[in-house]
Subunit: 276 residues, 2 copies
C-alpha cells in the first residue's frame, strides 16, 4: 500500500503525466529505525528537480510529514517518493493549472550481501550510452529507459553493476550508482553536467573528501583512465559504498583510500542519525 | 474511460513500470468514421518499438481487436495506445516474468483551425535540445521530458509548434511533429538515427516522394540551412501536414511542392480508407 496525495491507495489515474510521459521525479531513501536517512538532502534535491522541471509542488510540507509518518514504524526499509506533474490532457503542453501528484511507497530493504561492502563487487561496461542533455542532467527524473536498457544487458548474478558511458565515450556512472576512482591518492568522479544523476551519496563523499583535504577532481574521463585506477568504488543512498574489484575481468584491490572514505562516511552517517 | 488489459478502467497500478520509469511506448492514431487511420503502420511501429526495448507483448491480437472495437463507433477522434513493461519491483532490472500492460484511450479530435492546413503556422526554435541516443532514437517511447520542457518554453497562442535541435545543433523535428523543408524543389528531412521520433506521416511522405520521383535527401542540417529553405512543413498522424510560414519571424510561402505533397497525401489517405 502507498500514499497517493496523502490517501492510502495503490493506483494512479492513467491520465497522470507521470504515466503518460515520465513527467516527474523520484527519490529513494534509506529508512533506519524509523528515520529517513539524509532526508534533508533528498528533499533539497527534489525541490531543485521540481524547480528545473518547472513542476510546482505546493504540498512540500504535506509530503515531508507524510513521508516521516510512513517511515516512523519501519525498522529498516526504503522509502520511495514520486512526484509528477499530475493529471492532464493529451499532449506535451502542460495544463494551465497544475496539481502535482505525490506518491510515497515503502519497500523492504534489499538484501544485498554484506560482502559487497567489505570485499567489493564486479562491474561491467554497458554498451547502452547516456544521451547528452544539460537540461535534464543531474535530475532524478522518471525518464529511465537508458538505465533499463543498460541493466537488461546482463543476467549474470556475479555482476552487480553496469557502468555507463555518455554519447561522447566519457564514463559517467553506474546504472543505479555514482562512480569514483582513486589514482595516486587522488579522488576522481565525473561531472554531471550533460548526463547522469547527482546522487546524494556522491554529494556527501565530495564534501567529506574536501573536509578531509583529499585531492579531488571532478572532470570527464575515459574507460582507459578508469581501468588504470588504483581503486574504484560506486555508491548510492541505499547500498552506501561498494568497492569495485573487477571491471570486465580487470581486477582492482579494495584500497586504503576507499576504506578511509568508507570510514568517514560511516562516522558522518552515525553523527547525522544521532543529531536527527 | 479507457481499456486496461481489456477491462474498462481509468487507473493503473503505481508499481507499473510505465509510471515508475517511463518504461513503455505509445501510439496516437486518428479515428475517421470508426476506422483507425494507417493502423497497420502504427502497429508495425509499435511492434518494432517493443522489439527494440525488449518488451514482450504477447497480446498483440487482443490489442488490435480492442483498439478496433473501441474506435468503431467514433466518428472522429484520437485513439492512444500505451504499452508498458507491466508491474515490477523497485529497480531498473526487469522482472523475470514480464506481463506487459496495454492501455487504450479515446480522446476527442483536437480542434485545430483548418487555416493551419491551408495557410500554415508559425514556429519557433526551442532552446531545449534533444539528447543523442541511438538506442532510443526513432522509438515513440514514454520518456518525453525533453518535449515537455521544449513545449513549456512558449505560451504565445500564435505559435503552433517548436522546433528542436539535437545536442550537436542539427535541426531534428518539432516537439510533436516531424519536419521537412524544400529548396530548389528538393525535399529534405533529418535522419532519425540518434534522436527524434520516426513518425508515421514522415514515413508516408518519404514513400510518396520516392514514388513521385521527387528528389529527396535524408541528412542532418543546421538551422541556417532550414532558414534558407523555399518551403517548410511539419506533419504528424493527427494534424496531417501543416505548412510553416514563419520561424522566429522569418517568413516562408506555402509553396508548390508542399501543396503537391499535401495533395498526394490526401489521395493516398483516401485510397487507404477506401481499401480499409
Amino acid at each position: 500500500m502507498s500514499l497517493i496525495n496523502g490517501e492510502a491507495g495503490c493506483t494512479i489515474d492513467i491520465s497522470d503525466r507521470g504515466f503518460q510521459y515520465g513527467d516527474g521525479l523520484f527519490e529513494t531513501i534509506e529508512i533506519d529505525q524509523g528515520r529517513l536517512v539524509f532526508f534533508d538532502r533528498h528533499i533539497r534535491r527534489l525541490k531543485e528537480g521540481c524547480r528545473r522541471l518547472q513542476l510546482p509542488l505546493d504540498d512540500f510540507c504535506n509530503l515531508v510529514a507524510e513521508a516521516e509518518n510512513a517511515a516512523k514504524d519501519v525498522v529498516r526499509g526504503v522509502l520511495k517518493i514520486i512526484v509528477t506533474r499530475g493529471t492532464g490532457g493529451r499532449g506535451y503542453r502542460q495544463p494551465d493549472s497544475i496539481k502535482a501528484t505525490r506518491v510515497i511507497s515503502i519497500y523492504p530493504f534489499p538484501n544485498y550481501p554484506e560482502i559487497y561492502t567489505h570485499n567489493g563487487i564486479a562491474a561491467r561496461v554497458c554498451s547502452t550510452r547516456l544521451g547528452l542533455n544539460p537540461a535534464l542532467a543531474g535530475i532524478k527524473h522518471l525518464n529511465r529507459l537508458e538505465q533499463i536498457l543498460a541493466r537488461a544487458e546482463w543476467n549474470d548474478a556475479n555482476i552487480q553493476e553496469g557502468l555507463m558511458l555518455d554519447a561522447d565515450g566519457n564514463v559517467i556512472e553506474g546504472t543505479m550508482t555514482n562512480l569514483f576512482y582513486v589514482i595516486n591518492r587522488q579522488l576522481h568522479t565525473s561531472e554531471i553536467l550533460r548526463s547522469g544523476v547527482a546522487g546524494i551519496m556522491r554529494e556527501i563523499i565530495l564534501e567529506l573528501a574536501e573536509s578531509n583535504a583529499l585531492v579531488l577532481s571532478k572532470r570527464y574521463f575515459s574507460i582507459d583512465e578508469l581501468l588504470n585506477a588504483d581503486e574504484v568504488f560506486v555508491c548510492n543512498s541505499v547500498i552506501g559504498l561498494w568497492p569495485v574489484t573487477q571491471i570486465d575481468g580487470k581486477h582492482f584491490a579494495v584500497g586504503p583510500v576507499t576504506r578511509e572514505i568508507s570510514d568517514w562516511f560511516e562516522q558522518y552517517k552515525k553523527e547525522w542519525l544521532q543529531a536527527c
